[in-house]
């Protein structure tokens, strides 16, 4: 009997794997990769009648126009400010809460708190817009009723341009800190208990143990979470999808012209230009700049994550 060709055997073996992955790959190709060819319109004066193949190429004109839009750099600044604050607070708050939760003796209470604070993560920004528009209203909202009760002046959280970016950061932290807390709690439970025992023998109190054992043990996770969020920085927080990011969903549903100056971010600008006004090419050009920078930052983040935390996504 002839011996089987080993290569052929190998191909036989991986063919089912290819087949298994194929339907998903097709879907992703159709709905994610095909649209990427449309990026060419950033360099065109796109005309729907002529399509991608017939529209005139205009080089970098769309990019030049984008930079001339009034307040373009202000919008870049807004995007960065809002997302950097979100990244920082979405690490600091969950870490503190996770540490506090970890100190609890009653597991039942711990479980309850976890369940409650994680819940907002699962609500859409539409639902939350409905919620926040109501409770933050200066005339009717419960928050301002409380402020007035304590003798303060009502604050127009969503309509005052000085408050708006911070309202975005705060409401985002409100929604997401429960998620972060769960991540850090999980990391906490995997800390080797002998480390604490050793520290206790050395005479370290609870606080010192936290400082010298817990935090260093958490550091890789903290770094990792921070670096992973770098990629989303130009989305003003959140992950990217076909329909934009959670930063977009939040701000699009909560802002109004009076806070554009401090609340407008790149994605909302892209949306208004592209869909609101039919300036497809300019909108795509800005979207492309954004994607490119995000991609760079994300690569940098992963590289850092790999270097420092030995994290590999592959």
């Amino acid at each position: 009997m002839k011996k089987k060709n080993p290569l052929a055997a190998k191909r036989m073996k991986t063919l089912p794997l290819h087949l298994m992955i194929l339907p998903g790959a097709i879907l992703v190709f159709v709905f994610s990769y095909l649209p990427m060819f449309g990026l060419v319109m950033a360099f065109q004066n796109f005309s729907p009648a002529k399509g991608f193949f017939g529209s005139d190429f205009v080089g970098l004109a769309n990019f030049r126009y984008a930079f001339k839009i009034p307040g373009f750099w202000q919008i870049v600044y807004n995007t960065l400010l809002i997302s950097i604050l979100k990244i920082i607070l979405n690490i600091v708050v969950p870490v503190i809460v996770a540490l506090l939760l970890n100190e609890l003796i009653s597991t039942k209470f711990k479980r309850t708190v976890q369940t409650v604070i994680y819940f907002p993560h699962f609500l859409s920004w539409i639902i939350l817009a409905g919620l926040f528009i109501d409770i933050l209203s200066p005339s009717e909202g419960i928050v301002n009723t409380i402020i007035r009760f304590f003798g303060g002046n009502p604050i127009y959280f969503l309509g005052d341009k000085n408050w708006f970016p911070y309202s975005m950061v705060f409401t985002d932290v409100w929604k997401e800190f429960g998620y972060g807390t769960i991540v850090y709690l999980a990391a906490l439970t995997s800390i080797n208990p002998t480390l604490y025992e050793a520290a206790e023998i050395d005479g370290a109190g609870r606080f010192k143990q936290t400082l010298h054992v817990t935090l260093p043990a958490l550091a890789p996770t903290i770094l990792l979470m921070g670096m992973l969020s770098l990629g989303g920085i130009l989305n003003a927080g959140g992950t990217v999808s076909a329909s934009g990011s959670s930063g977009f969903e939040q701000i699009y549903n909560l802002y109004s012209p009076q806070v554009y100056e401090t609340g407008d971010i790149l994605e909302t600008l892209v949306f208004r230009l592209g869909l609101g006004n039919g300036q497809y090419s300019v909108a795509t050009a800005i979207g492309l700049i954004k994607s490119a920078i995000s991609c760079g930052l994300m690569t940098f983040g992963y590289w850092l994550a790999k270097k420092t935390a030995n994290y590999e996504i592959l």
Binding site: P35, M41, F122, G130, L131, D134, T145, S190, V240, T284
Partner: protein
């Protein structure tokens, strides 16, 4: 943990419990406020009497909402979306995650595929080309437009891949030597062993399908075909509320825009509230990003 706590430890425990309780309340109270508003009469709400408990208890806002055909039609579309979209999401996640969880030696194309999927998390062609592709496929205004473009949840694939990687090789190898196919290995070994991970990505899949609004708004051709969150977007954010039409004059005294909005928002959170407790014990598995290597 040591039961005999020192005095400062006891004080700390008490303070800690108080702080965490306040924090939990901060997450809960806004929702309670909304619930209370939806269950109160409009006059009580307008005069600012309602905080966290209904005043002038009435179900009229809910009755009003349920009499709106737009609302329950949209609700139905969203439910259908979850029942069709989530199984497809799960099937895709499993079928992609298994090959991706093989080592490079076992499956040479693995890294190429991985990049193929990962790149889509960062780069997108933008809205207009995306719309054009969907429209050329003839999917505009079709239910499938809400299902197929989001059929592959890449983030969930990554979580599941990492989870599959952690399943001991020995079990699988034994099965393969016995002549099992990959397909059988997936369904007989990997799926049963990954219940926790599957439950948590299912929660994400359900919530994503339930919560998405943008696709509905852009891809549907008439408001009657909007899923619930798209419909709510027009109600809540654009405030397209037509309350005082003569048809529902009966509700004018007890229902206002604010109470009906609260009722609609609250009704839309209900399904998430219902699913949540069943899946909550699997939370941790889902969020640990699978791949933080020790």
């Amino acid at each position: 943990m040591n039961k005999n706590l020192t005095r400062p430890r006891k004080v700390f425990q008490v303070i800690n419990v108080i702080i965490l309780a306040i924090l939990a309340l901060l997450c809960l109270l806004p929702l309670l406020n909304l619930l209370a508003i939806s269950l109160s009469s409009s006059s009580a709400v307008t005069t600012g009497q309602v905080s966290f408990w209904p005043v002038d208890f009435t179900l009229d806002s809910y009755k009003f909402v349920l009499e709106k055909p737009e609302f329950y039609r949209a609700f139905g579309i969203s439910v259908a979306k979850v029942f069709v979209g989530v199984p497809l999401n799960m099937l895709m996640s499993i079928m992609i995650a298994y090959p991706l969880s093989r080592t490079k030696a076992e499956f040479r194309a693995r890294n190429a595929y991985m990049w193929f999927f990962l790149i889509t998390m960062v780069f997108s062609g933008g809205l207009v080309p995306w719309y054009i592709v969907i429209s050329k496929l003839g999917l505009i205004d079709s239910f499938w437009a809400l299902i197929l473009p989001v059929a592959v949840p890449v983030y969930n694939v990554v979580i599941l891949t990492n989870f599959f990687k952690g399943i001991p090789k020995e079990i699988e190898e034994a099965a393969l030597i016995d002549g099992a196919t990959y397909w059988q290995v997936v369904w007989r070994i990997f799926v049963p062993l990954s219940k926790a991970a599957l439950a948590s990505i299912m929660l994400f899949a359900i919530v994503n399908h339930w919560n998405s609004w943008f696709e509905g708004l852009i891809l549907m051709n008439r408001p009657e075909n909007y899923p619930l969150q798209s419909y709510l977007q027009t109600v809540v954010v654009n405030r397209d509320v037509r309350l005082m039409t003569s048809q529902n004059a009966a509700f004018i005294t007890t229902v206002s825009e604010r109470t009906s909005r609260a009722a609609q928002v609250f009704t839309a959170t209900l399904p998430v509230l219902v699913v949540y407790p069943f899946l909550q014990k699997y939370f941790t598995t889902g969020v640990v990003l699978g791949g933080v290597k020790e």
